[in-house]
Amino acid sequence: MASHNESIIREPLMTGKDITYAQITNDILLPVENKPNKAWWIGFTVASLGSLLWVVAISYTFWFGLGAWGLNKTIGWAWDITGFVWWVGIGHAGTLISAVLLLFRQNWRNSINRSAEAMTIFAVICAATYIVAHMGRPWLAYFTLPLPNQYGSLWVNWNSALMMDVFAISTYFSVSLLFWYTGLLPDIAAIRDRATGLRRRIYSIMSFGWTGSLKTWQRFETVSLILAGIATPLVLSVHTIVSFDFATSLVPGWHTTIFPPYFVAGAIFSGFAMVQTLLLVTRKVLGLENYITMFHIESMNKIILLTGSIVGVAYLTEFFIAWYSGSEYEQYTFLNRFIGPYWWAGCMMYGCNVIMTQVMWFKKVRTNIALSWGFSIIVNIGMWFERFVIIVTSLHRDYIPSSWAMFYPTWVDVSVFIGSIGIFFTMFLLFIRVLPSVAIAEVKLLLKSSSEQAKKKLIDEGHLEPAEVQYYKESLTKYDSVDMADYEKV
């Protein structure tokens, strides 16, 4: 509290003048307590049409079987698993922000964790639709559970990486949902206490009777910390196990021990890109510039740069090991990524993920909103192509040239993919309408310590090193939500 002020050289995590606790609540609940604007309706209409496309395509798949997709006897896995891995990877950023950054006491997570966690949940739902869809007979999905049956009992194959995936994804989804909802309770209570009539009744049920008493908060903080502690290894395990789906096989291009760390880095990379894609728009549309500041945007860009570079090192390692292994098949697979018929997919993968993100070394790029948004889209595309290259390009030319083939997606493949994006955005848009998109209670914690106005007050009081104040003022110039005129006279 006031007795321990944050160092002046740290950039503020919240900007704006004369912000009070009440104003934080008002600002964040604005979209929840009011009718949506035109931009929301346009977005929602487009997203709903996408969801409708998904319903049509998936119904068609279930009715006619997996023959509706462009699979053939060589390429038995294509867009479905590409989409699955893409969505699961995107989900990872939410857990990283909410859990890993909590453990490291990175307070800038407070303003972005809620929407990032929501994004995790919706992305994992999208991923789960692919798992169910690629089973072909979704009514037999319970075959993946270790249930007693009349065949012996013939149990599930616990030696299979796919079985590990069932356990990893279901645990990941349910624990993320629990973490997210527990964190939402105080904010739902805030909506409840301001609402009337039916709205109050609904939010009252959803708030579990939260009061914000001393013991509730104390236990809540313990629960959050322990959940963060266990969600951190969980999120690392999930993409590790997803990578086992490939790494435990004997297909050249898949059979590598580098896959687990490489997949985890790629997941965080793509996830942060998706968070950036969503938040840059959300911040503008919902007017949250004071809470999601340029510092947040730049920090996320730095993480994208770091994880993108780790992915780049992993790519180089793969090529080196392919050459060093002396295995003809392995070498051909990697050469084929550039000189084979899918050379353009390889170029998209390496170009978007490694070469393009390197421009993030420049501060001008990191703090430019339009460029950041553009690069986040490029990373999303690049990471989709990464999975496509790993899956389809590795499969399409394996050991026997007589069974080499190409993959051509049908309209159903394309529609299932576009539809899943529609479902994701439908859920996200509904979320920002009915639940607070920023964690209100956690942002209030920043007001007295890390906000611009608290630091301004310190400067006005004097007693600070002039050099440090100067440094602080220079760091403020990158913010688009700070009026530098206020700092000219101080």
């Binding site: 606790y21 009992s153 030696n159 590990m164 645990t171 624990v175 209570a189 939260w210 629960v223």
Partner: protein, 178 residues
């Protein structure tokens, strides 16, 4: 005798609220509870609330989850229907690791959170026992039971001295019941 049941000190600043707690404690006035819109650190030490024991619950649930799934796999893969995969041993512990890990976490998370909800009486549909509706918005509320703590004016003054923006003498304990 007035009908006041609870005296609420409403603060707009957590530091003032801390001062309010000090003022009351110096005068040996027991505090019923404190309601805040966000977690305030240091308050539990002041109020003498012991550390939460939820961590122990979490550990026990984690052990339970790991044991359950390990036993299940052992029964299915080794005892009930051992499979001959190229003559390899059916008790292949490395393959057990991912499942054991996942369920350890699953049981820890759900066990601990459900314990938290049970201990704090949180469940869907519970009538919220709110003493002041702004306690989830911008008011830091100290609640003092009116019974036995007299004279009420002294308590009011102590809270006001600490910087309370408002002191309420409520005749109902909870305002949230319709």
């Amino acid at each position: 005798m007035s009908n006041t049941k609870f005296i609420l000190g409403l603060f707009d600043d957590p530091d003032d609220m801390m001062q309010g707690i000090d003022n009351l404690q110096k005068n040996s006035i027991p505090i019923y509870d404190v309601y805040t819109p966000m977690p305030i650190h240091g308050i539990e030490a002041k109020m003498g609330v012991k550390d939460s024991r939820l961590g122990y619950a979490a550990f026990c649930f984690g052990c339970l989850g790991g044991t359950v799934i390990f036993s299940m796999i052992y029964y299915m893969l080794v005892h009930d229907w051992p499979m001959n995969v190229g003559g390899k041993p059916s008790f292949a512990i490395p393959n057990f690791v991912p499942f054991t890990f996942e369920w350890t976490i699953l049981f820890t998370a759900f066990g601990m959170t459900i314990t938290f909800f049970a201990a704090t009486h949180l469940f869907p549909g519970r009538a919220p026992r709110v003493m002041d509706l702004r306690a989830t918005d911008d008011r830091f509320v100290i609640a003092v039971s009116a019974k036995g703590n007299v004279p009420h004016e002294d308590i009011t003054n102590l809270l006001k001295q600490a910087g309370a923006v408002e002191v309420k003498h409520n005749e109902r304990k909870y305002v949230s019941y319709e």
